[in-house]
Symmetry: C2
Subunit: 245 residues, 2 copies
């Protein structure tokens, strides 16, 4: 058996998420069916991060196994041709080691969250930001985010339906940057809880508009109580960026 | 008479350009008609840069005069509501001095050109790049571009139908940056010749893929011969960025 690693970009707007779901369009099923058509063999894809409905990816990683030896470069071209009518593109396919697993071998995952902070909605990139009209102070948001760095119990930022065994996670990077009217947030950890990034952003927004102080993020974290944190930020601002192995 | 200055974002994909043209959709006409509906008075817009068909703007500047005193903030909101079905948004309206002219008062204009340099087309931002598959060396492109800095006769980079009196222009900034697979080019001058930015990019692309050396840009410039330079780069990678007054 040969194992192949894919780097994938997608616009999640019209998908119910990465994962296969009966009767709903998913990235996984769309990709699996096109690969199967090409290599004439049933395939199963495993992804680094199973993104939710409406979440985008600039560098999702997935792998599949095949009996056949395929030319990764040719498969990339053919697959992108087959994917033309979808909102998915393959950026790269490479042969991987037999023990490589897109999900379980991951050492670090990176997400990006984009906020458009101005009055007018985005004309050039619709559906690609959380559009917030009230002025946000991204330096305050950075201060607040810094309290989340390191190993913590993230119960306050965890979705009710989260299936993870433990609420303990280790955040290795939280970075706010501003370019024009866009506030860009980059966050990295080995793994995340369900809705964790969106719940963190929804809470830091309250720091940005001065509803709460940066220091309150520490108290919200320590409360281990989801009801103390802010709303779940909308999916269209979230991008799965990359994975380190 | 009061004078109002507008900052405008638009997706140029479905427009024949800024300027009004009989029977074709233009940014100018779309905007003028919406403003007229709102303030019940004929208006004429003057833009900083009359972008071509398919060219986008992140910060076009325009002005109009009105007999009426309008509240700039309220007009922005109302106008954006009226513009909902279009690909145009008003980022800001401000009252301007009586002698302010969006075109003639401009001290410096900035354009951005975006190249997506990878095999797969853009899924997340379709129609917003020049998609070039062959690997480009953006450091070589920078070297080539540096020969264009300063005051020169830009005949080699001027469209045949250019109506400017003189081919002499002064380039104040040429900057190549790379973020992931995107090569971003920023260029600034008090004014440009017709197609000048796109002809420069179409020529620097030949430097990027090593068809010609950076030093040849100097020879092409000195030749004052349009046929010595490269193709006109496509409009969808070009953005009117901002104007200094």
């Amino acid at each position: 058996m040969k194992r192949y690693k894919l780097i994938i970009e997608y616009d999640g707007s019209n998908y119910a998420g990465w994962q296969k779901q009966k009767g709903l369009p998913s990235i996984q099923e769309t990709l699996e069916s096109r690969i199967q058509e090409l290599i004439k063999e049933p395939v199963q894809l495993f992804a680094s991060g199973r993104t939710d409905a409406g979440v985008h990816a600039k560098g999702q990683v997935a792998h599949f196994e095949s009996e056949k030896e395929v030319d990764p470069y040719k498969l990339t071209g053919a697959l992108n041709f087959f994917l033309k009518s979808t909102n998915i593109a393959i950026l790269e396919i490479a042969e991987a080691e037999e023990r490589f697993h897109a999900r379980f071998s991951a050492k670090m995952r990176y997400y990006e969250y984009l906020i458009l902070n101005r009055n007018a909605p985005s004309i050039l990139f619709p559906g690609k930001f959380w559009h917030i009209k009230e002025k946000l102070d991204y330096n305050l948001m950075q201060e607040g985010a810094n309290y989340l760095l390191g190993k913590h119990d993230f119960t306050s930022f965890r979705a009710k339906d989260c299936q993870a065994d433990s609420p303990i996670r280790t955040l290795n990077l939280v970075l706010f940057e501003k370019e024009g009217d866009i506030i860009k947030f980059t966050i990295a950890a080995r793994s995340f809880l369900h809705h964790m990034v969106r719940n963190i952003i929804g809470t830091l927004r309250l720091v940005g508009n001065k509803k709460i102080s940066p220091e309150q993020i520490k108290l919200i974290l320590e409360a281990k109580d989801r009801s103390k944190a802010g709303q779940t930020a909308p999916p269209q601002g979230l991008y799965f960026l990359k994975t380190d192995y």
